[in-house]
């Protein structure tokens, strides 16, 4: 069966939310926070690295203050572009200007079961199912942990990696690996898959996303896990999720500064520990409802939701942009589309190198397997909107217009026959049934999920590799449970 290629969003257009002066002011504010306020690193390992490079470390508070000279020195080793390796070399992603690679959302924990329609906790087989669907969809350039394998206990991040590889041949970015031990086993699994650590470094088949804790704190497990992966040359995404009004100032610029200081302080650590470690910058801020304190991802005004991408580039870093992730718990309500529909357009115009997160509902927590097909449609609408338009004698068709004349029609023209099939690209709203009637998008989406599961069977890792992976997971379980 033919496998669809990856179709990233390509555009020669670029949208700037911030001008150079604003970007300089934001960067200066971040530097001041890093120098004067500092960031908490609850990790002896991290504190030792900072102290060894001349940062001001307070062992009691675990707060690190980083002089700007040290920031710039560390940031000088960060690679701007690199390759995210895939299991299948055809799906390797070479980061470059003008291309945004998207993936699914993560990491949900509730599932509306595809067969029974009942709501339940997510499982390892859900991870595998969504990895398989991801592998088939052209919108998906790489794979994210879409839901957690809650049936697998403390080693669930390794089980998620295992079941993803069985069902997916693209690059995998883990959203759940935490801590030195789990990450060490993750590196071992990647090494088994590639055959050597050198190959892992050359074409890393996995990467890891770690989150900071706003305001201005790092997570011990996240940071120490990231250091393990960084040592193996495996790319890291440092993501901050400040909330305006509660964990960040209620002014947008201030929230950006909080997020930026968290991301940059972790990035500096990665570079000091292992110069040249590939790191993505990411800030996914939200708002606190001023009456209830509720987490709001999609208020009416989110003009500068994609400004963090420009801040990343101002630092010379690639960016992970956040898109989708509606607050709506419904599969196909007006809200579930309205809140996110401009997301892929804006984030691609901002120039994010990689982008999450297609296909979850209820603020990144709820999986309807068929939602990914509906959101895939929103993605492709953005992709087509940003394509260059062909204007040449063939497409201008002036001769054909002259043949048809006023009041005629174009259906009988060979030019129409040649172009009409591709002139209109069918959305999920325009899938026709045998009687020529348009089908309900959800019915089509469910059918497509079923079709992919029945017909798409990516090549799993070899038996030898699988045996090794099973052994590694067994060892990890033994070590962690003991």
């Amino acid at each position: 069966m033919e496998r669809p290629p990856i179709e990233p969003i390509r555009t020669s257009q670029e949208l700037s939310f911030l001008n150079d002066q604003q970007l300089d002011n934001l960067q200066e504010a971040t530097l001041r926070v890093l120098e004067t306020t500092g960031v908490q690193f609850p990790s002896q390992k991290a504190l030792a690295i900072f102290a060894g490079h001349g940062a001001e470390v307070d062992d009691d508070s675990q707060i690190v203050k980083i002089p700007r000279e040290l920031v710039f020195k560390a940031m000088s080793t960060i690679p701007r572009y690199f390759t995210l390796g895939a299991r299948d070399p055809e799906f390797d992603l070479k980061l470059q200007e003008g291309i945004s690679f998207f993936t699914n959302d993560g990491c949900g924990h509730n599932v509306i079961d595809f067969k029974t329609g009942e709501r339940r906790a997510s499982r390892k087989d859900d991870v595998g199912m969504m990895a398989r669907i991801n592998d088939y969809l052209s919108s998906m350039a790489f794979s994210w942990t879409m839901v957690s394998a809650q049936d697998c206990g403390v080693t669930s991040p390794l089980h998620e990696l295992d079941v993803t590889w069985k069902n997916n041949t693209k690059h995998y970015q883990s959203v759940t690996m935490m801590g030195e031990i789990i990450c060490r086993y993750g590196v071992e699994m990647a090494t088994v898959l590639r055959g050597s650590l050198e190959e892992v470094r050359r074409r890393p088949p996995i990467s890891l996303i770690v989150c900071t804790i706003a305001p201005l704190m790092q997570d011990k497990e996240a940071i120490e896990g990231a250091l393990v992966l960084g040592e193996a040359g495996i790319p890291i995404v440092v993501m901050s999720m400040p909330t305006l009004g509660t964990t960040a100032p209620a002014a947008y610029a201030g929230a950006l500064v909080i997020g930026d200081a968290e991301v940059i302080s972790a990035t500096v650590l990665m570079q000091l520990a292992n110069p040249g470690t590939p790191v993505f910058h990411s800030i996914l801020h939200a708002w606190a409802d001023p009456r209830t304190g509720a987490y709001v991802g999609y208020p009416l005004d989110s003009r500068v939701r994609y400004a963090p991408v420009e801040m990343a580039h101002h630092w010379g870093m690639p960016a992970l942009g956040g898109a989708f992730g509606t607050e709506s718990p419904a599969l196909d309500s007006w809200r579930s589309a309205a809140e996110v529909t401009t997301d892929p357009l804006l984030v691609a115009l901002a120039g994010a190198e990689i982008v999450t997160g297609i296909g979850l509902r209820d603020t990144y927590t709820l999986l309807y397997p068929e939602a990914i097909i509906l959101d895939d449609d929103i993605y492709h609408r953005a992709r087509y909107s940003l394509m260059d338009m062909e204007v040449n004698p063939e497409t201008l068709a002036v001769d054909v217009i002259d043949i048809v004349k006023p009041g005629g029609h174009f259906l009988g023209q060979k030019h129409t026959r040649k172009h009409m099939r591709t002139a209109m690209v069918r959305s999920v709203s325009h899938q026709i049934n045998e009687k020529g009637k348009y089908r309900h998008p959800v019915e089509y989406a469910r059918e497509k999920v079923k079709w992919i599961m029945d017909n798409h069977h990516p090549e799993p890792p070899s038996e030898n590799v699988q045996d090794e992976i099973n052994r590694i997971i067994a060892n990890a379980e033994k070590e962690l449970i003991e």
Binding site: G408, H409, L411, R417, M420, R421
Partner: protein, 216 residues
């Protein structure tokens, strides 16, 4: 030789090549091939295959229209050569037009093409046609079905006038009336006493078969 030419005529319709269809039709007459054989064994199976390919989703609207154009190009040459008494085999005879005051053509044209591709003999009288023109065409072509298209709420009233005109002319019982167009509904068709309503060209074929009591 005649079989080869008839095969070429059929293929010209399937491939949607009106110029070729015209050339082969002329060659057939030059070589004294029976024009009725050319139609019944070449053009008709050709357009039926086009219709089947369209139904299966392999062909799109342009292939359908150009196939019908190819058939028409050949018919324009072959039909005048039919000897008296010779007639094409057809499912039924249809007169089709857009009502008075309405210049919209494409919907009616699509219906005509679909009916042609499914074995009907269609006479398209064009747009902006008053009831008198419809009545005259029905009589002249001995139509089994008349199809009246209207795309405006202001002109759909003409569909009712057409039915009244058919009654006045004393031919309402001998011709079935199909109506269509964007503002037209099944309910409206019932209200004005039409025999059938089709919301698109594909369902128009089913309606026409039903009105002819022919198997769909």
């Amino acid at each position: 030789m005649s079989e080869e030419l008839i095969g070429k005529l059929k293929q010209a319709v399937i491939d949607g090549e009106p110029e070729d269809a015209e050339i082969f039709a002329k060659q057939a007459l030059d070589q004294s091939v029976d024009p009725l054989d050319c139609i019944n064994l070449g053009l008709t199976p050709g357009i039926q295959e086009v219709g089947e390919l369209f139904s299966k989703g392999d062909y799109y609207l342009p292939e359908l229209i150009i196939g019908a154009d190819a058939m028409k190009a050949a018919l324009d040459i072959l039909e005048p050569a039919l000897v008296s008494g010779q007639e094409r085999e057809v499912v039924g005879r249809v007169v089709l037009g857009t009502v008075a005051g309405d210049l919209h053509e494409i919907g009616k044209t699509l219906v005509g093409t679909m009916l042609t591709a499914n074995g009907f003999l269609v006479t398209d009288i064009g747009v902006d046609q008053n009831s008198e023109a419809f009545v005259a065409a029905i009589k002249e072509n001995k139509a089994d079905i008349v199809g009246a298209s209207a795309l405006l709420t202001t002109t759909m009233l003409q569909q009712k006038k057409l039915i009244e005109a058919l009654e006045s002319a004393g031919i309402r019982d001998s011709v079935k009336v199909m109506i269509g167009g964007a503002p037209v509904t099944d309910l409206y068709a019932q209200e004005i006493g039409a025999d059938g309503y089709a919301e698109d060209a594909i369902s128009a074929v089913d309606i026409a078969y039903r009105l002819m009591d022919a198997p769909v």
